[in-house]
Amino acid sequence: MGMTDLLAFQNRRQFLQHTACGLGGIALSALTRSSMSADRSSPLTPRASHFKPRAKNVIFIFMSGAPSQYDLFLPKPAMHRLHRQPVPESFLHDLDDALIKGSAQVFASPRTFSKHGECGMDFSDYVPHLAKCADELCMVRSMHTDVSNHHPAQLMMNCGVPLFGHPSMGSWVTYGLGSEADDLPGYVVLLSNSGEGVDGGSSLWNNGFLPSEYRGVNFRSTGDPILHLTSPPGVNAHTQRLRLDAIRTLNELRFQDTGNSEIESRIAAYELAYRMQSAAPDLVNLSDETARTRSMYGLDDDKTQSFGANCLLARRMVERGVRFVQLYHSTWDDHSNLNTKLKTNCDMTDLPAAGLIQDLKQRGLLDETLVIWGGEFGRTPMNEVRRGNAFGKEGRDHHPFAFTMLLAGGGIKGGQVVGDTDELGYHPTKDPIHVHDLQATILHCLGMDHEQLTFRHQGRDFRLTDVGGNVVAKLLA
């Protein structure tokens, strides 16, 4: 341990104080100090990207449970010809998926499709509002993933690996870029559901092996938007300030005695906590939004209210510089009774999601905000056979080989469909895009090289895209 190393993390005052205690003390504390970086007081300070970014922020609308591409975005006329017939052998030869076996029959979508926008993009009658955004949207029909169970696949989409314990995309992005919000967290998660809870839980917005500052902070829709944001009973703003001033003064006295720089970090953390206490209520107070804006997000309709409020909060967050906002809506896991359940979710989310894109655009924020819409995989072209074949109550099973996602905004070329699939939509036939390719492209839009955004853990460098991923130029504006 050389003297320069020591000076790198100890200021002059501390240095002198340590010297007063004897050089041995310095040497030992250096010998045993942790390998933390020199300045951890502000891990969310904005940092330069690898190259010029096309987007500053991300809003990822994660449709947990896997929405059916066949009933929303992917008209397949050939399926009507094969409806209720066994799937042709030619599609099943390489099938080793645990879920898709037995006597499944082709299930043609009962939905009606029509073309929208100048680009003529297909949407079903279940998503009339997203359809209006056709010219902003890039529809990717050739997404594929490696796993077919929900949780591993959700981890794959969010963390790049189908295993617990790896950082999620939002953690990687804030680790790479920091955040421009100085009174709010840099990575926020918002949850809504159609009544069955949220799958996967916080493992999906976990910091994994990255420092805990990069963990997604779950803003809650009921109670405090952030855990323990409200002062305890009887502690008003004045008392809270008295409390904070006393804590600060005592910490400062301790700092004068010890010169421990962690105390300075703690003082800073308490000040940010205090700012968050006033900034977060302002953030979630939607009363300053106009009636027109409220209706764009469906705030005054019970059906759309909860997801709509999350969409509106997402816009308010990116306005305030929050780097990565993720909305989770669950569950789209329609193994049975798909017609009804899919409609429920579409009725809850279609209008607000479209409202968000339009609102971002009218405020000039869409150019700097990348919006992503999609789930962990798709659904099968066949009906679900495990739970019976009651006509009209059909569902679809999990399908990892080809599914559809939507992208819009910063860096993305809207008004285009990318990728194509065979006549049953079983496999991509053109431009297959793996989850890692999507992740590499998202990082690219933010000005980062996915191969350079790494973190050393357990003896090797890890990255969001594991050992794969190619930026997909076709998606870019």
């Binding site: 041995g24 879920l99 779950n218 009887g234 962690e262």
Partner: protein, 733 residues
């Protein structure tokens, strides 16, 4: 002549160059990385600095001397007693403990303090935590459905006892990896194998049980590699290790030891259960037999048809969807919600009926009976099997309670282990037998089972086990290991900052008979540890909560038992699928953090905020972050505020005099020292200002947080909460 001379010089230059060249070849060809070489006990250097007290100090002082530096003096006694108490039992000392140590002038006062702490029942609770981080203990299955494991705590209880009893580390290793294989294994020894049960179980419909069993075995193999050998062997599951001498073949040889083990829960009666349970068993079995006897042959006939169907489905998947599903279900749902071994049903079904134990027969029958209609609904109805099943369940309910426990057993249906090409278990490479790594000493045993593996790990020749273990202890006390990468002693890991000290400690650990407490005693009694300038460390999540509880007097100090659910915001448990958080009653709200229920998909919020690790992964080193969310928790969490109220009551009760005396008492309780004059001024002024706050004076019992009956005087509650929020409170100096 001159030319000749020059030639000689030339040749000499070439020769010496060659020597250098040859010696460089020797270095390059050196097959072994430092940590693979045997532990050689170095001579303790001589240092005369007047400070060193034991060999650790002499190694450290020698190294410091090279930098023209030396050990600093001991910390003051109040700092020292708080430091060593927090480090050995995880709790802050009481003011009485501080006073008695500060006033004790006998020369061995510190050593006696250390011995008292090492003998405390709370010692094991504190040291269990980093070990549970390593094996990623939790009270649920993980994955989407994340079902409960109500008896997971049996392993934790074993661990706390083993640590408190000072079980030598070799025995500790053998029992956890292979306690079930010891001759005449006791229930306690079997409980130890609960370590290997900390892997995740996927019970989501459609999950392939074979695939997820493979993941469990990989996880167990990684545990052996990382916990005992400090090797990231898991990197070699898909390909040869990129940096270390671990081939993919070797990974699967190590894997083969664990591939031969199955999950099994056992009846492990608690002391107060044993007598009644054992007394009732014979009568229970007699009556069960009696109930089954009239239909024995009919049931056997139906069950064997059922077994035939599910085994046929297993052997020919994809032919018959219905029976595929029945086979899959047997593998997925067996013992779900009870934390039973997930594939026990499969193992029994695969076993020749003649080789099944009575217990195994009973268990499969109990699974089959309510499903008898799947094979022949008419016959099941005719025989009234569902009524019989109800009778059996009624009978079972009369059996006195017996608590079960997760353990491992050697498989009865041996499987062949293959290399998984590119990490895909369906893509079989070469067949492998159990084996260890070529760079390490040979394993000497004719029977290559887990017991042999465990004994090999703790053989004196093993270069890694002792080094890795003492290095982790060092990290625990000093914040960073002698090898900073505690989980990676491979070539990509950092090199030891003091290789001789590491080897001396490792050698001493083995020589002491793997005596963990003796090593810890050696470390904490060293002058190195007692220095005034030891690096401060932020307390762990559990320590912070424990300190708040114990300082306030709310702490329920019972050791052991099932996990508890202290209060936390409801929205936390709502984050995960279908889980509820039934808040514990009474003292269980105030138990040490060690006992807090760990739900894999939404762990206890306060612990996560303070860097408790993800409970699904081996964690060798916790982060110590410093975030605004931590500030919000300590400022506003109703649980912390409740404790501040309790501390306020305690202070008012225990000191019946003026503000200064009371503030001083609260300060001592929280920080184990007297306030300095400026600190006292700040706190007394705060009291004065708070008393002018009219809002605060309106607070009464009705606004008590969390319906607790603990409400302190509002002014004093705020003052106490300030103490909980100080950097010094959450830090060990």
């Amino acid at each position: 002549m001159g030319a000749m001379h020059q030639n000689w010089n030339f040749i000499a230059t070439i020769l010496s160059g060659m020597v250098v060249f040859v010696s460089q070849i020797a270095i390059c060809a050196e097959p072994s990385h430092w940590s693979y070489l045997p532990v050689v006990r170095p001579t303790v250097p001589f240092v005369d600095d007047g400070v060193s007290v034991n060999p650790i100090d002499r190694f450290v002082a020698k190294r410091l001397e090279q930098g023209y530096s030396q050990l600093s003096q001991d910390a003051d006694r109040a700092t020292l007693v708080r430091r060593v108490t927090l480090d050995l039992i995880g709790l802050p000392p009481t003011p009485a403990e501080v006073r008695s140590f500060v006033e004790d002038t006998s020369p061995d006062a510190y050593e006696r303090l250390v011995d008292r702490l090492l003998g405390s029942p709370h010692y094991g609770e504190h040291w269990a935590r980093p070990w549970l981080d390593l094996c990623h203990y939790a009270d649920t299955d993980g994955y989407l459905t994340d079902q409960t494991r109500p008896v997971a705590w049996r392993y934790r209880a074993w661990l706390v006892d083993a640590l408190n009893d000072g079980m030598p580390f070799d025995q500790f290793t053998i029992e956890q990896l292979a306690g079930d294989l010891l001759p005449e294994a006791t229930i306690q020894q079997k409980l130890a194998t609960g370590l290997l049960r900390q892997t995740l179980s996927n019970r989501e419909g459609g999950a392939d049980p074979v695939e997820f069993r493979v993941k469990q075995v990989i996880d167990r193999t990684s545990m052996v590699g990382e916990i005992w050998m400090g090797l990231t062997v898991g990197c070699a599951q898909c390909h040869d290790h990129k940096y270390d001498d671990i081939s993919q073949q070797e990974f699967y040889e190590l894997y083969a030891f664990l591939d031969a083990a199955d999950e099994i829960n056992i009846d492990a009666p608690l002391p107060d259960e044993r007598e009644a349970y054992e007394a009732a068993l014979p009568e229970y079995h007699r009556r069960r037999k009696e109930l089954l006897a009239p239909l024995a042959s009919e049931i056997e006939e139906l069950q064997s048809r059922w077994e035939e169907k599910i085994l046929a489905a297993r052997d020919n998947p994809g032919k018959d969807w219905y029976w595929d599903r029945q086979w899959e279900l047997l593998g997925l749902v067996w013992g779900g919600g009870l934390g039973e071994g997930q594939l026990e049903g499969w193992q029994i079904a695969l076993l020749d009926p003649a080789k099944r134990s009575q217990l195994q027969k009973d268990r499969l029958l109990d699974y089959f009976l309510p499903k008898a209609d799947t094979i022949d609904a008419a016959r099941a109805k005719e025989l009234k099997l569902s009524e019989l099943n109800a009778e059996l369940q009624k009978l079972h309910a009369t059996l006195p309670k017996v608590t079960r426990a997760p353990t491992m057993m050697q498989t009865q249906t041996p499987r062949t282990t293959f290399v998984h090409l590119a990490g895909d278990f369906r893509d079989r490479g070469d067949e492998v037998s159990p084996g260890t790594l070529d760079v390490l000493p040979e394993i000497n045993s004719t029977c290559l089972d887990r017991l042999a593996l465990a004994r090999w790990l703790v053989s004196e020749e093993h270069p890694l086990t002792a080094r890795v273990a003492v290095n982790r202890m060092w990290q625990q006390f000093f914040g960073q290991g002698i090898v900073a990468t505690v989980g990676d002693f491979g070539v990509r890991g950092t090199r030891p900052t003091d290789p001789e000290l590491l080897d001396w400690l490792a050698g001493e650990f083995i020589r002491s008979g793997w005596n963990v407490k003796a090593m810890q005693r050696l470390i904490v009694t060293s002058a190195t540890y007692r220095q005034a300038t030891l690096k401060p460390l932020r307390l762990s999540a559990e320590q912070i909560r424990d300190a708040v509880l114990s300082t306030s007097g709310l702490w329920d100090s019972r050791v052991g038992g099932p996990s508890v659910r202290p209060p936390q915001p409801a929205s936390v448990s709502q984050e995960s699928y279908g889980n509820t958080w039934e808040v514990s009653e009474g003292g269980d709200r105030y138990r040490r953090g060690l006992y807090t229920w760990v739900q894999r998909t939404s762990p206890f919020a306060m612990h996560i905020t303070f860097d408790a690790p993800n409970p699904n992964h081996i964690c060798t080193r916790r982060d110590r972050s410093n975030t605004p969310l931590q500030a919000l928790t300590l400022l506003n969490d109703p649980v912390i505020h409740e404790a501040a109220g309790a501390l306020a009551q305690r202070v008012q009760r225990e000191v019946n005099s003026d503000d200064e005396q009371r503030v001083t008492h609260a300060f001592r309780l929280c920080l184990a020292r007297d306030p300095k004059p400026p600190e006292l001024v700040v706190l007394c002024e705060l009291l004065q200002r708070l008393r002018k706050d009219s809002e605060l004076s309106k607070i009464d019992a009705a606004s008590a947080p969390l319906a607790s009956n603990v409400v302190g005087d509002p002014t004093w509650t705020i003052l106490c909460s300030v103490l909980f929020n100080l950097h010094e409170f959450v830090t060990r100096n």
